[in-house]
Symmetry: C2
Subunit: 361 residues, 2 copies
């Protein structure tokens, strides 16, 4: 089969995989397409964590017997058994699939390459690496998580041309274009959690929900070391369907913890580090245990700076509004500037009146 | 003739006009193409201030008689006589050109529309507005100058993602990618002058010449209110073929002025304003009298901020390096932030590892 055809069907496979965005973690997004005589006879994707895998959904949706067909799958099929659903490979073999085309090998050390080997040993033709770059990009949250057991962290910054996030310290400044806000809501529906500092809660009083598009709400995480918040903030609004997690430092005063009882939230205490602050990595380790494999960090300056200086950032998305503030709060405040070096520009695009610059480490 | 053909020849006309960049101000860049029976029979451009105009050069280069031909010219041909060369229009009429295609009307109030009228009265078919946007862009320096009698001012900023221009105050930080530096040298060869503050001279000791490409050097302007510089700075190097202009404030001490004697520079004193600083507009008015119709402002923070807060900026070109400095000197320091509002993003592009964002007012 021509490579152009493989690319066509893999593109469809990735589209299907994407449909699981926001619902499948800590699993990867996986799509599957079954093709026979050049025609798609079955499609499926992994829809929700704990439910059937893409390959099975595709096989079961097939409009005719899949014997002799080609299966497209963006991720190497699973062969390990210590998980919620039976492994897919025996089923693929049993159904008589003749050829399997894969975009990315599963970086999960329990699978990596073994799935391909398994299929080949059963006489199935396996091709890998078709649209791998797009596939790796799609599942970058999962890849980070499965190889490091830490969540993928993106800082979302909305700043002026001259790197200011607010005009006056302690006051909110609206900088982003509507198109940028829409995109952020889309991201919120894809990331497992959104994280901000208590100071930003006090100044902006944000909801951190998905409103401008249709999508599921993320878990909301507030770093509130000394438990200084209360019920008046919208973050604790009862209507909110997902959990709010408050991270506090060490053993807090019982009276303070009591204030949070009855609020729609969970308080997690983590010991502070040498400088009396909770090490960011400790926070990430706690959150990953709650199935949070991706975090969108939305501010403010101190939170951004701690993530950068403690090297806990995978991606920085900077929305630059067409304004010069001239004074006000800078996006970052780093004691040791060496920490902020070595980023790579991945993408640059227009977003309403703003520019969106995406950097990775 | 089809519009597509007109666009093709006008594109060539603009390419020719561009060749005058850096050499024709305070005149506009003008190109001319003469087409007969669908073939180019003559080409020309305005090569140097005071020399022949594009139309004349094209007519005189023609490989056959231009009678009955079409003349493409990006700018409306001149009919006024108070200038260095005779007006082009009588020559165009005399040569028997049948049709004239123009991109932009000449904003010079002495011409604006009168040239077209003159041609039409002579029975010549005139079309205007072909590729006008590109043509207006090409001659934006001239358009600003001729309509306001002030130079076109571009701030060239090289900053980190977080809007810092140096890591430590008083020290130079190299931020820009090689590709960005090349582009800046290209700009230097196109702008009439490059302007910086005395503080930047002391910290960076730049040459402000064109070295990375082949091109003519700009005039160098230093704002040195109290005449604090001396011969050790490269700006005063004798090799430099163009002038260096030092702008000082009010009546300076004779001993200080004496220090500048023998240096390859001119000292111009301008009275300070109410805050003991020279109003930027007064500087621009003095420079425009020296035939400087475009200025590239290269720093530092105080100079950038004065230009912005005194509303003397037409364009801001921001090179963003893929670094976070976290601390250091911000690009701007504005007392009144309202001054920095209302920019418009015109272009965004990759430049090596940097992003270049171009804003206009």
């Amino acid at each position: 089969m021509a490579r152009a055809t493989d690319i066509k069907f893999m593109r469809r496979t990735l589209q299907l995989a994407q449909k699981g965005s926001g619902f499948v973690s800590s699993n990867p997004m996986v799509g599957a397409v079954i093709v026979k005589n050049g025609k798609v006879i079955g499609e499926g994707f992994h829809q929700r964590f704990g439910e059937a895998h893409a390959e099975i959904n595709a096989i079961e949706s097939a409009s005719q017997p899949v014997r002799g067909a080609t299966l497209y799958c963006n991720l190497e099929s699973c062969c390990h058994r210590n998980k919620k659903t039976p492994p897919c490979i025996p089923r693929i073999i049993r159904e008589g699939i003749k050829r399997v085309v894969i975009a990315s090998l599963d970086p999960n050390p329990e699978v990596n390459g073994k799935g391909v080997e398994f299929l080949r040993n059963a006489g199935i033709v396996v091709e890998t690496g078709i649209m791998q770059e797009e596939s790796d990009e799609l599942n970058r949250f999962f890849f980070k998580y499965i190889t490091t057991m830490l969540p993928y962290v993106t800082l979302k910054v909305a700043q002026s041309i001259d790197g200011k996030i607010t005009e006056k310290i302690g006051e909110q400044t609206w900088l982003s274009a509507k198109a940028s806000q829409l995109l952020v809501h889309k991201w919120r529906s894809a990331y497992d959690a959104v994280l901000i500092g208590a100071n930003t809660v006090k100044i902006d009083n944000p909801q951190l929900t998905v409103r401008y598009i249709v999508g599921r709400n993320p878990i909301r995480v507030v770093l509130d070391g000394n438990l200084t918040l209360n019920a008046k903030y919208r973050l604790f609004h009862a209507d909110y369907s997902s959990k709010t997690i408050v991270i506090s430092q060490g053993n807090q005063d019982k009276k303070r913890i009591k204030r949070y009882k009855g609020l729609n939230c969970e308080v997690i205490s983590i010991p502070g580090g040498s400088n009396n602050r909770i090490p960011i990595k400790d926070i990430l380790r706690v959150l990953v245990q709650k199935n949070i494999t991706s975090i969108l960090v939305e501010g403010g300056q101190q939170i951004f700076s701690q993530f950068i200086s403690q090297e806990c950032v995978d991606e920085i998305a900077v929305f630059i509004a067409p304004k010069i503030l001239g004074r006000g709060l800078s996006t970052f405040d780093l004691e040791n500037t060496d920490m902020g070096r070595d980023f790579k520009l991945i993408r640059y695009e227009e977003c309403g009146a703003d520019v969106l610059l995406t950097y990775r480490i």
